[in-house]
């Protein structure tokens, strides 16, 4: 008797645990529930997203959307294991340079037949290219930001340098000499936050005509490192090395890590994403004057690689059509503007970009908007194996080159030789 009771207790406890804390998927009762995983992280942007979801839910009682909070730092690993484990959300927020492996792996739905014509024509072709892999389109690019120079206005004024504008930007040479002029007395002309050196280098290199990834006639991609590819890396290297016009300490930092030094006048300029203005407004000490300058231009003008934020639909989702409808709603011009303002970024939609709120001189919105025309698909992002090349080969190689521990020859050797080995594993 007692034995039975003891067993019953054990069984009950285990059963309780297994059922008690499992929540499981929502039950279907004619209503559709979509999970929308957003990576918004700044308060304004999270609020904008949540508000839009609320409006949608109010208008569509049969298609309810559940807001799920994701995080940029781990999104790739998280999505990979979610897809693999069959737990992916229906609507997925990500960036275009992160999509290649998912698109080729068959996890994302091809959107060509799902999206309405309005949305398709409202976004320029050069933006759609960022999410086209093979024949399919696997995401809707909706927000993007140019890399800009955020400058300490007082220091620039005092030094009497020419202030560049989108119409008349600095050349890379001019940029280098200006930073030299701004340096000295414990101050650096520029602080490159290059914790993620690869995308910054590749994207800026586009202005000088650098491509690095070349697709052969057989469709296979190889890495080359030509003179045009070397312009930007060499500028950074020389600034941090022989010129002493760039702080060596910030090379491994993230953008926001450089802000305290920037506010303290240690650096005259910091190359940052356009959206960093939000952090600057929030954190700058009173009376601090800052302004946004266009990044230097090269042979190809103000061209810049960019990996827009994207919205995709999971191939596994049972409600792809509804998911596409929701994306269409989120990206109506008016809503796109709200998302852009929340993230302090630029919308891809041509209609949204015309909004007066994005054209004011307040917080230098207008400068960024003027740069939107030069933004195009980052060269590497459609290449399979690019993430591994970036993390394992290019990041260490560039970091060592910038910090001066290897030379240009060694950099080229590593990027090309080691790089092509990695790419080959993906293109067998």
């Amino acid at each position: 008797m007692r034995r039975v009771r003891a067993w019953a207790a054990v069984a009950a406890a285990v059963a309780l645990l297994l059922t008690g804390c499992s929540s499981g998927k929502t039950v279907d009762d004619g209503k559709v529930t979509l999970e929308f995983q957003s990576l918004a992280w700044q308060k304004e942007s999270v609020d904008a997203n949540k508000q839009l979801v609320k409006e949608w839910n109010a208008a569509h009682p049969d298609i309810q959307v559940k807001y799920v909070q994701g995080s940029w730092d781990s999104v790739h690993d998280q999505l990979l294991t979610s897809f693999e484990g069959g737990e992916a959300p229906d609507v997925i927020h990500d960036a275009s340079d992160d999509l290649a492996d998912f698109a080729y792996g068959g996890y994302l739905a091809d959107l060509r037949d799902l999206l309405p014509a309005r949305l398709k024509s409202g976004i320029p072709q050069r933006s759609w290219e960022t999410t086209t892999f093979g024949d399919g389109v696997y995401g809707v690019p909706f927000l993007q930001e140019p890399r800009v120079l955020v400058a300490n206005a007082k220091i620039l004024r005092a030094a009497g340098v020419r202030i560049p504008t989108p119409a008349k930007p600095w050349s890379w040479e001019e940029f280098r000499s200006v930073t030299k002029k701004l340096s000295g007395g414990g101050r650096f002309g520029v602080a490159w936050p290059l914790k993620e050196p690869v995308s910054a280098t590749l994207n800026l290199s586009l202005s000088a005509g650098g491509r690095m990834f070349h697709r052969g006639a057989d469709g296979k991609v190889t890495v080359r490192f030509d003179a045009a590819d070397a312009v930007v890396p060499r500028t950074v290297h020389d600034q941090a090395g022989p010129d002493g016009s760039a702080s060596g300490a910030t090379l491994g930092m993230s953008g926001s890590d450089t802000l305290p030094g920037f506010f303290a006048g240690k650096y005259a300029m910091v190359p940052l994403g356009f959206s960093y203005r939000q952090q600057i407004v929030q954190q700058a000490p009173k009376g601090f004057e800052w302004q946004v300058l266009p990044a230097p231009a090269g042979r190809d003008g103000l061209a810049q690689g960019v990996s827009p934020q994207t919205l995709s639909v999971a191939q596994d989702s049972p409600h792809k059509k509804e998911a596409a409808q929701f994306i269409d709603f989120l990206l109506r011009p008016r809503n796109m503007v709200r998302l852009a303002l929340g993230d302090w970024m630029l919308p891809t939609g041509t209609q949204a970009l015309k909004d007066p709120a994005l054209r004011t001189t307040k917080n230098d919105w207008a400068t960024g908007t003027a740069l939107a025309g030069g933004l195009r698909s980052a060269p590497a992002q459609s290449v399979r194996g690019y993430p591994e090349w970036k993390d394992k080969v290019a990041t260490p190689a560039l970091q060592e080159y910038y910090s001066g521990s290897i030379g240009l020859g060694e950099l080229r050797k590593r990027l090309v030789r080691d790089g092509n080995l990695v790419l080959a594993r993906y293109q067998r």
């Binding site: 792996g105 914790k195 260490p396």
Partner: protein, 311 residues
Amino acid sequence: MTLATATKRPVKRVSEPPGRGRLVDHGAWFLVLPALIPILVLSVGPLLYGIALSFTDAQAGRTAPTRWVGALNFQDLLHDTLFWESFRIGLLWAVGVTVPQFLLALGLALLLNQNLRFRWLARALAIIPWAMPEVVVGIMWRLVYHPDAGILNETLRDLGLGDGRDWLTGLATALPAVIVVGVWAGMPQTTVALLAGLQNTPPELHEAAALDGAGAWGRFRAVTWPALKPVALAITALNFIWNFNAFALVYVLTNGGPGGRTRLPMLFAYEEAFRYGQFGYAAAMGCGMVAVISVILAFHLVGRLKGGDEQ
């Protein structure tokens, strides 16, 4: 994870009842099964499965079916200089953490074994690193190392020792900086284990040695160390293994950067599996790590047996 594994060995063998030959005593099965089933399904099974996976090209994605590829993964692995670089870093890290950890812990244990002022406080504080989730330890040290808002650079500036550095992102400083954190985090377990060992040495021997005129060092060598040696060997072996398999600390502190200088093999294999989706290849890396650990463990056991003979 645990220290008791290290220091606690089965108490004296009481005379065992018969039942040697059988797998398990009749009637004891139902006592064993509740633990045995989860162990088989979630520990032994996965281990065998993992070894099998290393001979396949298993990948994330649904476009390619999994095939047996024989030893191809291991061939690739042999030529993967990046992995072996990571392996070298892993060994450096494991030794770099285990040795100072042991020495510092030994010092602390010896001090705690004395009747010193503030000993109670030290005992309480020594537990803190142990009680903390590894993730929190990582976050905390990131705050300490932070180039501008961190206390380390500020202290250096106050002491006039230069302008400080970016510890976790500098190519030269990242690994040493992370090693310090590893030492800090693992010291308590080691200290407690060694302290237990110390309290186990017979005090009469100390007195006898003191009467013989032995100095502090002489007493340590003649009395303390022999008694401590088994515990010390066990805890260093386990520390080495745990450190070699460390993950959370570097994941939080540097995520393998800068330039892969702190990419420990665990992190490397994790990324291969769950970032790039190369399951088979990552499993092969795991097998390689097990092999190396087994060899080291074997050497260690041999050394331990020999040490036992000498006594």
